[in-house]
Symmetry: C2
Subunit: 407 residues, 2 copies
């Protein structure tokens, strides 16, 4: 049999007992004849503890040294895990980012993997050992420790699965798989047995927290099949893979939502070339990511311009816009932090009309006003009043028949 | 000016405030024009926390994985330290064992340094950076993490000082320097301004806790001048260096003691070849280190055999000896955990008679019975009843005039 990559998140290794549970699962796969490579996150709470330690030392920690500190979290996990596996009678070896030769660029705290030299891992597997690789970390070409950012362990797992040509990359988490929407607000939410990379990417960027977005991009690029499942039971989870024809028969596969954005509007901006550029260049220069942008039909040479930014960047955005707004002669700068974004996603909508109409009518039937609309090939997002977010999710989930569909 | 190596122990970096204090000291040396390489231990308490974490996972942690876990302690220290230095406006870089290329053998938990490739450190120094190296850790030729054992940061510091041909290796601790004896039990104890490597080695092996013994051996081998001093004040400490003629004029420089040993006696052992070998081979095979050994004058073909072992190995030693004692026909196996060992040390005694006589008379004057005696070229040790240990230290310190001497 081939190689299985298994990744366990912070909750799954959150205590010694849970690490033992993970060890038993890994040994089970080993007994079934697989070569197993395990990627572990830091124990739940450890990453926050380390960040707080750094913040207690200095206000603005040096990024290189922060990565040196943060990487101790996963180092602790793989060491403890390997001890536990050994004590259960199986050979195990931990490998840190530099030992597993996960080479990244030098963007401390958000490094991207350039290449992996998997020879050491293969050597350990050939000796019949279980290999535990510290997630989230790598090293640059000068031997400096780097980290991949929050959720980076997913990326480590998928990158290793690609490098090792693993049969599957199992991502263990504290939920059973990927749901048609958030079960916490919609009791009808249903676990999907399969979902395409593209849908998963949209879900990840639109607020679903199951998988880190870069890991899905990487999986799509290298055709790595991801199996999202729970470390607390034996239920089959959700396979994330290349779309097939069967998937395209379904218009909408999931509904997502986010309350993380705020809306900013400049009213009565002169409608002439260079205005939008001036505004968005200055916002981008501050590192703020703008999502939806709406520009109204121009009336007598003026227009209203609305866009959303992350709530965490809202104040800074308003401050940035004050001088620009005056300079451009905008009437006022309005802000609204109380908005929600609901989205419907499905590769099937590429070939079918009527999804948008159905979405708008469903919301309208509940008297939910749509403030902004953005679309891509396989999703439609509506910005609405924040207080209607959960209701909107439930009615859309119902309207598109997600509770019943088999996918 | 040249390179200074400074090593700070766990107490000196035991909190963020103390790390700031260390940063200020290091920056001071940097401002004076030195290139500074700093070796840090784990924050006080961290090593115990990590050991307890491992023990909570498994009874007998795999040595390789224990080293992976333990090495996070120093990693945390150097990362925090470097952040703090950067926040104070000076460039700093942390280097872990593998980045500083401290190559060791593969004896996990007690590795020995084979060689150091100091090119990366020199490169960072050339860029005017303060370099913080994680103490206690290295890597073997297969890129596995190793640790040098407790106190190993001293060894890291001296080895780096040798590799970098540093002007001095300053070992910062929570005491002012090396004292003629333990000031806690002898108020007259005096800080020495200088001491020879050989005397320091004897002191370290006889119970003084200031320096790790291997670091002194290494310093002697490469002629590294060690300066033992406090991180909490600016007092000059004690220089440890090659002996000179002036040192040889003084008979005794220090008095040490230890209560860590227990005595074992086999009575009426047949006095014939092979008996001692049989006993000590089996003890050595169990990894137990025997210190003093006394064999009485033989009487009618039988003899009594006494030796000391660490108290922690006492029970195991007695258990080991039961079958051997029976087999050899020994009368009984006696044990005594209530013993102390006092020693006087001085390179001067090589060329002067009368030190032993004076020591025995001093103890005898206090009615302290000497149970065992061991000597080397530059020290005399007496095993006595445990309860007299502190008294013996005080009277010997007085008898050899250590409170007044200038050394």
């Amino acid at each position: 049999m081939g190689i299985i990559v298994q990744k366990y998140g912070g909750t799954s290794v959150g205590s010694i007992d849970r690490i033992r549970n993970v060890a038993r699962r890994v040994i089970k796969a080993k007994k079934e004849g697989h070569d197993v490579v395990v990627i572990l996150s830091a124990m739940a709470g450890e990453t926050d503890r380390l960040i707080n330690l750094a913040k207690s030392a200095v206000e603005d920690p040096d990024p290189r040294e922060l990565d040196v500190l943060m990487s101790t979290g996963e180092q602790t996990s793989v060491a403890l895990f390997s001890m536990v596996v050994q004590s259960m009678g199986y050979e195990a070896r931990s490998l840190l980012g530099y030992q597993a030769k996960i080479i990244t660029d030098r963007a401390y705290g958000r490094a991207r993997i350039h290449e992996i030299d998997s020879s050491r891992i293969k050597e350990e597997l050939a000796r019949n050992r279980i290999v535990a690789v510290a997630g989230f970390q790598g090293l640059d070409e000068k031997n400096n420790i780097t980290t991949l950012g929050r959720g980076g362990s997913d990326t480590t797992a998928v990158a290793l699965a690609a490098a090792l040509q693993a049969d599957v990359c199992e991502i263990y988490t504290d939920v059973d798989g990927v749901y048609t929407t958030d079960p916490n607000i919609c009791p009808d939410a249903r676990k999907m047995s399969r979902i395409s990379y593209k849908e998963m990417l949209e879900m990840a960027s639109l607020g679903a927290k199951v998988l880190e977005i870069r890991s899905v991009e990487l999986a799509a690029k290298y055709g790595v099949v991801i199996h999202v499942r729970s470390s607390f039971n034996e239920n089959p989870g959700t396979l994330v893979l290349e779309e097939d024809e069967q998937m395209e028969d379904i218009l909408v596969t999931s509904v997502t939502y986010s309350k993380k954005d705020a809306r900013v509007t400049l009213t009565r901006v002169p409608d002439k070339p260079g205005v939008a550029s001036k505004i968005f260049t200055s916002i981008a220069a501050a590192g703020i990511v703008v999502d939806a942008i709406i520009q109204n039909q121009s009336a007598d040479g003026f227009t209203d311009l609305s866009f959303t930014v992350p709530k965490t960047d809202y104040k800074q955005t308003i401050n940035l816009l004050q001088p620009i707004g005056s300079e451009l002669g905008a009437k006022e700068i309005l802000g609204d932090e109380d908005i929600g974004k609901v989205s419907v996603i499905g590769v099937g909508m590429r070939n079918h009309a009527g999804v948008a109409a159905k979405m708008f009518k469903t919301l309208s039937d509940e008297n939910i006003n749509i403030m902004m609309i953005t679309t891509s090939e396989i999703k439609i997002s509506c910005v609405i009043e924040g207080k209607y977010t959960e209701l909107a999710v439930r009615v859309l989930h119902d309207a598109f028949g997600l509770a019943e569909s088999t996918h």
